[in-house]
Amino acid sequence: MKAKVYVTLKAGVLDPQGKAIQHSVELLGYGGIADIRQGKYFEIALDDSVDRAHAQDAAERMAREVLANPVIEDYRVEVEG
């Protein structure tokens, strides 16, 4: 089983890296881009001792306590497999 955690900057928190990436992409000629926000993605492989409900719970806790800083970031957890 795998838990996927997506960490993104909260709306309203400046993302200068996203802006720089957007600029580079636009230099390549891609138009119509309103905004690019950069985030982080984590894959947590879980062994067979963990059931699905616990996996969701554990991944949410990890996201809250370590993977994301709730002052500036939001997170989303998906468990699959």
Binding site: L14, P16, Q17, V66, L67, N69, V71, I72
Partner: protein, 234 residues
Amino acid sequence: MKFGVVVFPGSNCDHDAYHVISKHVGQPVSFVWHKETDLAGYDAIIIPGGFSYGDYLRAGALARFSPVMASVQEFAARGGFVLGICNGFQILCEAGLLPGALIRNRDLHFICEHVNVRVETTDTPYTNELKRGAVLRIPIAHAEGNYVCDDQTLAELRREDRIVFRYCDAAGNVTDAANPNGARDSIAGICNRARNVMGLMPHPERACEDLLGSSDGRGIFHSLTATLALAQER
């Protein structure tokens, strides 16, 4: 009075802090390896600058899980003085000892230069020997020094007089042009509610010798030693 300088893997201003405390402040000082947990006997703990854990995940994010940090939390809760400089400030924010967070500089650059900061309050153990409104010339060296917090936190910091330093020009005017990293309200340093924990992005330990361009940082350490001397008299 005894100072401790915490050393994480990746700290690189630990020796500067040690040097300033032993040579200029003239007080006993020891390094405290991040796996140590006994802070008995220390009066002040410095969390120095650097790149603890390589800044992996977020600046300061992993250092907060080092064994020593639980002891630093207890030390601070008991009223011990904790000074976080640069990466130390980031760690204190990640650890929840100070509110807010430090994100990437608005122009993305790592900035290493002398800046001016204005003393916003003298009601802290770190600034009580300074004058309110005084301008200190102290270097910064960071890529993630852009202080952010929500509106409620900012209002609280203002109301409780906890904004200790703000970036300014040489004349002491706080302007956007004098804000090197985009920090909210030009905040360069803040303290906690009990005022014993302070974090700041500029490096006062690098500004204690005229030969190095400025000795304005000394006032911060002298304020702290004056506070500690007073506490010991009581």
